[in-house]
Symmetry: C2
């Protein structure tokens, strides 16, 4: 009985969230920015990746960062030098961002001149997958030290991914990790998502990731422009 | 507004959960078993630790395992040979176990002759800390590859810990990890929790962990016996 109440409530919260997410998507579209929702376990390297990505996109592309965290402003602090603007959302007890927290942040952000909005979600492999923030793409990071069974064990999140970044691949030799297993599990769940093997430490895969970002942005903006004239 | 609704609901769910958790605690007490709630990020080594711990406690101590997972039965499969009984709870879309799921499992478990109940929670550093399952102790695993900023970033979970296991310490040399920072952050949040540096791979820290388990169980059972005569 208790469980049933929970399910109903979650459904209401999700519906309300989707409504706000749709409005966020409209704001991104009007401003011709490409918004990404970065999701992973704690410590898989989201912030480090952005520390490398945002400068590498310059000067051609400007980026805005919205970071969700339980309490600290550490990640936003780390990114504020490189980003055009870095906004911190403290979620308190919540293990994921809500669309309305992004909506509130957007009212403080000047999107003019920006090309990318990177939303770094709270470190969690489950709930962030259920809460649409209005992003144009969901990027899931899986780090090698987490183990090769994670795709099968956390399928909900990998099912909705547009891109999977396998991070810390510089540790592939040092750890027992079956890359083939990951690829097989992924092909069953989500055949259309791209997998990029990446190391923020050695730089492996960075070019592929940057190319993906630019291509998807162009594609997304193109689609938005088409929508606008329909 | 949306956010406020969520908060009220969560409070109701938590209150209902605490009620059931209290009943679980009573069941553990009546059966003189020591129950532990193991919490961590995905891939920090909960199952591997239990694969080593349960045989090491034999033949003196028998263990039961309850594993929470979104979908698969992989972890319970891995543990079913060694444990007296291994129960899998599939949580579906939920990122943590509820007390009523444990209560349901307990109706299928024969606790007679058991000394420890290890509850392996869903891989998540946030929500499992809020949902009491009726356990006697909360054990938080933090693995070295997750990084040395995790105590400060996920304080809610470390604040309620009885024991923190720093796992995969065999990687301390290979990765940039400031152990002193972890200890300092912990001392500010939770001075009474014990920290054990552990490697399931090399065996480092295993004796200390086994001693802690046995001592806490003896202490817990003693306290339970006192409670029973009060």
């Amino acid at each position: 009985m208790n469980k049933k109440i929970k399910v109903n409530v979650v459904k209401n919260v999700l519906q309300a969230n989707d409504l706000v997410a749709g409005r966020n998507r409209q704001v991104f579209k009007e401003n011709k920015v490409f918004a990404l929702n970065l999701i992973s376990s704690p410590g898989s390297g989201k912030t480090t990746l952005l520390e490398k990505t945002i400068p590498a996109l310059k000067p051609e592309h400007k980026s805005i960062v919205i970071v969700g965290d339980l309490q600290t402003t550490r990640d936003a602090d780390r990114l504020s030098d490189q980003a055009q603007q870095a906004v911190q959302i403290n979620t308190g007890m919540s293990c994921h961002l809500y669309a309305n927290q992004i909506a509130q942040s957007l009212s403080d952000i000047d999107l003019k001149g920006a090309d990318f909005v990177f939303i770094e979600n709270v470190g969690n492999m489950v709930c962030p997958g259920e809460f649409d923030l209005g992003e144009n793409a969901k990027v899931i990071l899986l780090s090698v030290p987490e183990g090769d069974d994670k795709v099968a064990k956390y399928p909900t999140i990998f099912r909705v991914a547009d891109l999977i970044l396998l991070t810390k691949v510089d540790l592939l030799g040092a750890l027992d990790f079956d890359l083939k297993r990951v690829k097989e599990d992924l092909s069953k769940l989500n055949a259309k998502a791209t997998l990029i093997e990446l190391s923020s430490k050695t730089g492996q895969g960075m070019d592929q990731w940057l190319d993906w970002l630019k291509a998807k942005r162009t594609e997304g903006i193109g689609r938005q422009a088409r929508f606008a004239t329909e």
